[in-house]
Subunit: 325 residues, 2 copies
C-alpha cells in the first residue's frame, strides 16, 4: 500500500490502516521511519485533535478494568476512544503487560474503540517519539479521546504527562501502605486522582484513601492550570461502574476551564516545543555516543568523576576532545 | 596572592582566603575561571568532606532565623558550619535575599561559622557549578557542615538537592494555605520536613501542620535511601530553640544509616557523574546556541513547532543543519 493510500484510509477511519501506520511508526527500519514521518505529517495536516488523557497507576489498582469500564462509558456516549500503552518494562519482559486486549475484552470488541498494546521492543528514548506519533495518527483517524496508559515505572509517567492534556492517577483503596505508595513526583503530576475499587467491602477504605489524598493535594501549591477546587481525588468502581460519569464530568470541567483560558493550546504548543528541543539535544548526544571512541572516553571520564575527578574538569576535557558542530 | 598560597591558606582554614577563593569561583573572567579550577582541584586533593545539607522554604517561614539558631546549635557542639546561598532571583533583584549576614548576626560573628551570600549576578545555569565548587572549597577549608540555603523558586531546589547529602524542607504553621503551599515536587525531595515557628500561639497550628505533612509523607512510596520511619516531619522553633536538637539527631540518624550502607558515597558518586554528563550536554548546546545563525534557526523552528510543525521533523531539520561534532 502506498503511503498516500494508507494516509487516506487512515483519515477515513480504517482501523487496519491505523494499525499498519502505528506499526510503521514503531519500526526502526529507515524506510519505515521515512514513511512514518510522511504519515505523521499527513496526520498533522488534518488538524484533527482528540482529548489526550494520560493514565497511570501501579499494578493491582485495576487499570485495565478501569479503562474498559471508562472506555465503554465514553463509547456509550458516542465518543471514539483509542487506548495506547507506554510500557518500558515490556522491553525487558519481552512482552506487553499493558493494552492487553484480553484484559479489556468488551472494549476491544467495541467498534468505537481501538486498543493498541505497547510495542514489545521499546526503550524509553524511542517510546517518547513513537507514542507522540501514534497519538497524532489516532487523532487523524478521528478518535475523540486518546487514552495513554502507562505503568508506574520511573520516567514513563513524566514522559506521558508531557504529551497529554490531562493526567489521571489511579489508586486502589489503602493508598498509604508500602505496596501501593505513590512513587514520588507522580502525585505532583496528577490533574485528577481516582481511587478505584470503591465497592463492596472496599468502599469505606476507598473513601478514607480518597480523603487522605485529597488532604495531601491541599498541601500542594495551586497551579495556574487548575480550576478552583482542583486537583481533586474521587472514588470510582470499574466493577460497578460507579463514579465513572463523575470522573468524566471532572475531566470535562478541567479541560473546558483550560480551553477557555487558552491554557490547553498554550500547553500543547509548549509540549511540542520542548519535544523539539529535547530531540535536538538527544540528536547531538547521539552523535557523541554514536562514536565508539567518544563513547569510551565519556565512560572513562565518568568513572574518573565517580572516583573523585572534578565534574567540571572532566566535562572540559570531554568537550575539548569534541570538535564544535 | 599566588594560587598555591591561596590554596594553602584555604586549607589552613583562613576565611579571607576562602572568601577570595569563592569570589574567583563566582567570577566569569577567563583567568579567574582557570585559577578557580586549580583551586577546586587542590580542594578535591585534600579529600576532606563535610555533611552537605540543603535547605529550602518559601519566604516567611523564617529560614534565616532557623539557620542562625540551628547553626549556633552546631557550632555550640564544636562543629564548623558554612552557609552558602543559591538564589537565582538575586540575578533579577540585583541583590541577594539569602545568606544575608544582617539577618544572621550572631552566627555571622561566630568564629566557627562562615556565611556566604548568594552571588548577585547569578543565573541558574552558572549557579550549579559555582555552588558545587564553593561547597568543595568549604570542605577543603575544614568545615564539618555545609548548609546550602535556597529560596523556593522553580529549579533551584532540584539543583541543590542534586549536590547535597540531605535535603530539608522548612515550613511555617498553616502549611495548607495558598500562601505557603509547597511547590509541587519539593515535598518529594525532602528527607526531613521541619515546621518552624512552633512556639507560643502557633504551637498548636504547627503541630497540626506537622501532622498534615507527616500524613502526606506516608502516602509516598518508601525510597531505598530512607531509614525506617523516614522521611518524617518535625516541629521546631528557631525563636525558642526547641526541636533543633531533635532535628539534628534525625539528620545524624539518616546520614549514619545511609553511610553504613554505602548509600551516601554512592549518591555522591552518582551526583558527580550526572553533573559531568550535564555539563557535557550543556557544553554541546552552548556551541549550538553560541552560533547566532544556529540560534536563530533553532528559534525559528521552535516557533514553527508551536504553530504545528511536527517536533521530530523540526529536530531532523535542525540536526541536518549541524555538522557532526
Amino acid at each position: 500500500m502506498q503511503t498516500e493510500d494508507l494516509a487516506q484510509k487512515l483519515v477515513a477511519g480504517d482501523r487496519r490502516a491505523l494499525a499498519r501506520a502505528i506499526t510503521l511508526v514503531e519500526s526502526r527500519r529507515a524506510d519505515h521511519r521515512a514513511e512514518a514521518r510522511r504519515l505523521v505529517a499527513a496526520a498533522a495536516g488534518t488538524g484533527r485533535q482528540a482529548l489526550r488523557i494520560g493514565l497511570t497507576g501501579t499494578p493491582g489498582v485495576g487499570k485495565s478494568s478501569f479503562i474498559e469500564s471508562f472506555g465503554l462509558l465514553l463509547t456509550g456516549r458516542g465518543l471514539r476512544v483509542a487506548v495506547l500503552a507506554v510500557d518500558p518494562s515490556s522491553a525487558r519482559s519481552g512482552g506487553s503487560i499493558l493494552g492487553d486486549k484480553t484484559r479489556m475484552e468488551r472494549l476491544s470488541r467495541d467498534p468505537l474503540a481501538y486498543i493498541r498494546p505497547s510495542p514489545s521492543q521499546a526503550e524509553l528514548g524511542g517510546i517518547a517519539r513513537r507514542t507522540r506519533e501514534a497519538v497524532a495518527l489516532c487523532e487523524a483517524a478521528g478518535f475523540d479521546v486518546v487514552l495513554v496508559e502507562t505503568v508506574g515505572v520511573g520516567q514513563s509517567e513524566t514522559l506521558v504527562a508531557g504529551m497529554v492534556d490531562l493526567f489521571l492517577l489511579l489508586l486502589a483503596p489503602g493508598g498509604g501502605d508500602e505496596l501501593q505508595g505513590v512513587k514520588r513526583g507522580i502525585m505532583e503530576m496528577a490533574d485528577l486522582i481516582l481511587v478505584n475499587k470503591a465497592d463492596g467491602g472496599l468502599l469505606a477504605p476507598a473513601r478514607r484513601t480518597c480523603a487522605d489524598y485529597a488532604g495531601a493535594l491541599r498541601l500542594l501549591r495551586k497551579r495556574p492550570q487548575d480550576p478552583p477546587g482542583y486537583p481533586k481525588a474521587l472514588c470510582a468502581s470499574a466493577a460497578e461502574g460507579t463514579g465513572l460519569a463523575e470522573a468524566w464530568a471532572a475531566i470535562e470541567e478541567i479541560l473546558a476551564w483550560r480551553r477557555e483560558r487558552g491554557i490547553l493550546a498554550a500547553a500543547r504548543a509548549a509540549q511540542a516545543r520542548s519535544w523539539f528541543e529535547e530531540e535536538v539535544r538527544q540528536g547531538l548526544l547521539a552523535r557523541l555516543t554514536g562514536d565508539a571512541h567518544q563513547r569510551a572516553r565519556m565512560a572513562a571520564l565518568g568513572a574518573e568523576v565517580e572516583a573523585g575527578l572534578d565534574p567540571s574538569e572532566a566535562a572540559a576535557r570531554m568537550l575539548a576532545d569534541l570538535r564544535a558542530p
